[in-house]
Symmetry: C2
Subunit: 201 residues, 2 copies
DNA sequence: CCCCTTGTCTACCATTCGGTAAGTGCCAGG
DNA sequence: CCTGGCACTTACCGAATGGTAGACAAGGGG
């Protein structure tokens, strides 16, 4: 793998777990068996590296969700597809979701950049929710705030390892599957209309 | 206000917004009009300061929730009381909730400490959920995972300012009230049993 | 063969970090 | 009165930080 990509990968992992400020270029370089100056050759500054990681993460996230939605049906099964896709990410690349949390914590300009790049996804999701409400399959609510609630729940269930530990669960692949199941049940009853119009299994 | 308390207050605010690593003792001291060594006089190290802030936050959180539950009834109205209490905190001391997020991000030993101190609250909440399920008022689900889901949603709705901005909302007191309303509707339909056994308004 | 670009290195720099040492003013109490 | 602790200061320190300058090797094209 080319050095530049290796740097991006290691940076994503370290930013997503240790945090941005707690990650030093020296430590990053040492972990890769290169020197800090090699990093600064490919990325003019630490901040530029962060931006590059953000851009990479945005496309990775977008393509992951995009491809999950290709085979998905309509209504509730789309939500299910998205959730499964997110949890697949949580299992295969846990750093990625951690990084998203970290960026939203960092605030502008990093957070602004990421959110801006995810804008199409957000708009699409909000539009979907609104259409489902119009169709009567989902509870009527402010679509974007409903999206925020669902987003918070999903990200939390997938990434809140410390709270999870405090609750007596040890993070593992099995526990991740359990959490996904509980999350789906939670979201299902939170989103769908109470009247048995078309539960769609 | 005594210097020690002023330090704790400023540290809570800075840790909760800028983050722990991004907060330097020098900057903290400068903001208080004192020197860094004065901070190190009251707290032997930066880490000790963090622990003190954690301890303070834990009791503040606990007492806030405790007092909210005193006048609360049973069933759903207890959930409502907790949510209202959290949002009152979000309005009055936004740093506190931000700090909780930050600590859970920092991981052990800081996160372990906070969670340990909040253990009684967690146990009580899980017990409450289980009792409600037994009574049939709430949907049957793994109580602690349901708690994690609800926790994630509440904290997210109260603190995800950047995502909120990306959604087109400007954080304000009014928007906070709106969010609380939407959150309550969301949680209500997520938690309560579908059968109209006793919705309890 | 030469030259220029690409990638990496060694060497260095100014700044900032958390933390130590050694006072200094102040006030209470024997 | 003076001694001792409390709250806080100035003066440092070594390590680590992000970043700069410049050399060196490899390789491709004229």
């Amino acid at each position: 793998m080319p050095t530049k990509e290796r740097i991006l990968d290691a940076a994503l992992a370290s930013f997503g777990t240790r945090g941005y400020e707690a990650t030093s270029l020296d430590a990053l370089a040492a972990g890769l068996g290169i020197t800090k100056q090699s990093i600064l050759y490919h990325f003019v500054s630490k901040e530029a590296l962060l931006e590059a990681v953000i851009d990479d993460s945005a496309v990775e996230l977008a393509t992951a969700l995009e491809s999950a939605l290709i085979g998905a049906g309509a209504g509730w099964s789309r939500v299910e597809a998205v959730v499964r896709s997110v949890f697949r990410l949580a299992a295969r690349r846990p750093q990625l979701l951690g990084f998203v949390r970290e960026v939203s914590r960092l605030g502008p300009p990093a957070a602004t950049r990421l959110m801006h790049e995810l804008d199409p996804l957000v708009a699409r999701a909000a539009g979907f929710l609104e259409a489902e409400m119009d169709a009567g399959t989902m509870r009527r609510q402010e679509p974007r705030l409903l999206l925020l609630a669902a987003y918070s729940t999903v990200i939390g269930m997938a990434t809140e390892v410390e709270v999870l530990r405090a609750l007596g669960f040890e993070p593992s692949l099995r526990s991740l599957v359990t959490r996904r199941g509980e999350l789906l049940a939670f979201l299902r009853s939170a989103l769908l209309s109470p009247e048995p119009s078309s539960p769609l299994a």
